[in-house]
């Protein structure tokens, strides 16, 4: 999406602020992956605060990714009609295909920090494991 050339011949990959955002999120995804592998490799340790940390960071990153996709789509994420998602529709929105539903995905992902144990519940579990209150 970022590399897609625009009508002017430019692409968003030349925009240092967009690329900062892309690289930060990429680094955070890699960090989460490493933490996940460490937790999985150390299965003898029994349940600990790590699982809750993974849930919180995973949910937050999903939201961050959806936000970045919407940002990169820019005005193309603005137009929206649920009918464009259906196969029988001839018109699939004015923007590129990858922009279709970028805003819908962003708003849908708001739920990830309140399902499967809200961030508040998961943070409560972490506190219990670490300081036992």
């Amino acid at each position: 999406m970022v590399n897609e050339a625009m009508a002017s011949g430019q692409s968003l990959s030349l925009d240092s602020r967009i690329m900062d955002d892309v690289n930060q999120i990429e680094a955070q995804v890699l960090a989460l992956e490493m933490l996940l592998l460490r937790v999985a490799a150390d299965s003898s340790a029994g349940p600990g605060p790590q699982a809750s940390i993974l849930k919180i960071r995973g949910s937050e990153l999903q939201q961050e990714l959806a936000r970045l996709q919407m940002l990169v789509a820019g005005p193309d994420a603005w137009a929206y009609d649920p009918a464009w998602m259906r196969q029988e529709s001839d018109f699939h929105g004015p923007g590129a295909e990858f922009d279709l539903g970028a805003a819908a995905t962003y708003f849908d992902n708001r739920k990830t920090t309140i399902y499967g144990g809200t961030n508040e519940i998961q943070k409560g579990i972490i506190v219990k494991h670490i300081i036992g209150v």
Partner: protein
């Protein structure tokens, strides 16, 4: 600097606040947008509350208010989840016209806007571009005594509900602004919904004068 609201700002937002809380709730909003087109009655009500004329200079029947007044008005409009074309029409288009207020055409549209009789939009985005403010493919060319306008604009906010659009075009390599009546010959709209249940449109222009 004094950040307190002036007496006029407080009066303006007090009456707006009351109407927003009492008459611009979620179900009213749904009903307005279910029509699939701009509700001119709702627009007229906003105009009567002073929203349409807020930035229109006083000599054209507006209030000639500052951006600071716009801020408090928009905070109040947020309470009513207003997606009517306040930003494209009462802010963007009016600000552009006010900068050219010495021309008769601009004066005429500014007065009509202050009365709630005109809705304007700004057509500046084009296909294949994101975040660019420069017109690329829309061209304005001299043709004998007249002008020829050709191009395609995208995401023209509330274009179908507007009376005229301010279109950006290239004229001899420079940016030019053209005021195009929405119903004029040579204007074709493809109207579609946006995520906030408002409308915008792709606009194809093949016009000559």
């Amino acid at each position: 600097m004094d950040f307190a609201l002036s007496e006029e700002q407080r009066m303006l937002t007090d009456s707006l606040h009351r109407v927003m809380s009492e008459q611009w709730g979620f179900s009213e909003r749904r009903a307005r947008f279910a029509q699939g087109k701009l509700d001119r009655g709702a627009w007229q009500q906003l105009a009567e509350l002073g929203v349409a004329g807020l930035l229109v200079p006083e000599e054209h029947g507006g209030f000639g208010e500052s951006p600071a007044s716009m801020l408090v008005v928009h905070q109040t409009l947020g309470r009513g989840m207003v997606s009517e074309p306040v930003i494209p029409s009462a802010v963007m288009a009016v600000t552009m016209l006010a900068a050219l207020e010495q021309t008769p055409v601009a004066a005429q549209w500014l007065s009509a806007h202050a009365e709630g009789q005109a809705v304007l939009s700004v057509a500046w985005q084009e296909a294949g571009e994101r975040f660019s403010t420069e017109p690329l493919s829309t061209q304005l060319q001299a043709n004998g005594d007249g002008l020829v306008l050709n191009g395609r604009k995208r995401y023209v906010w509330h274009a179908a509900g507007s009376d005229a659009m301010i279109v950006t075009a290239r004229l001899d390599g420079e940016m030019a602004l053209v005021l195009v009546p929405t119903q004029a010959n040579g204007v074709t709209l493809q109207d579609y919904p946006t995520f906030d249940l408002a409308r915008c449109a792709d606009v194809v222009l093949t016009m000559s004068s």
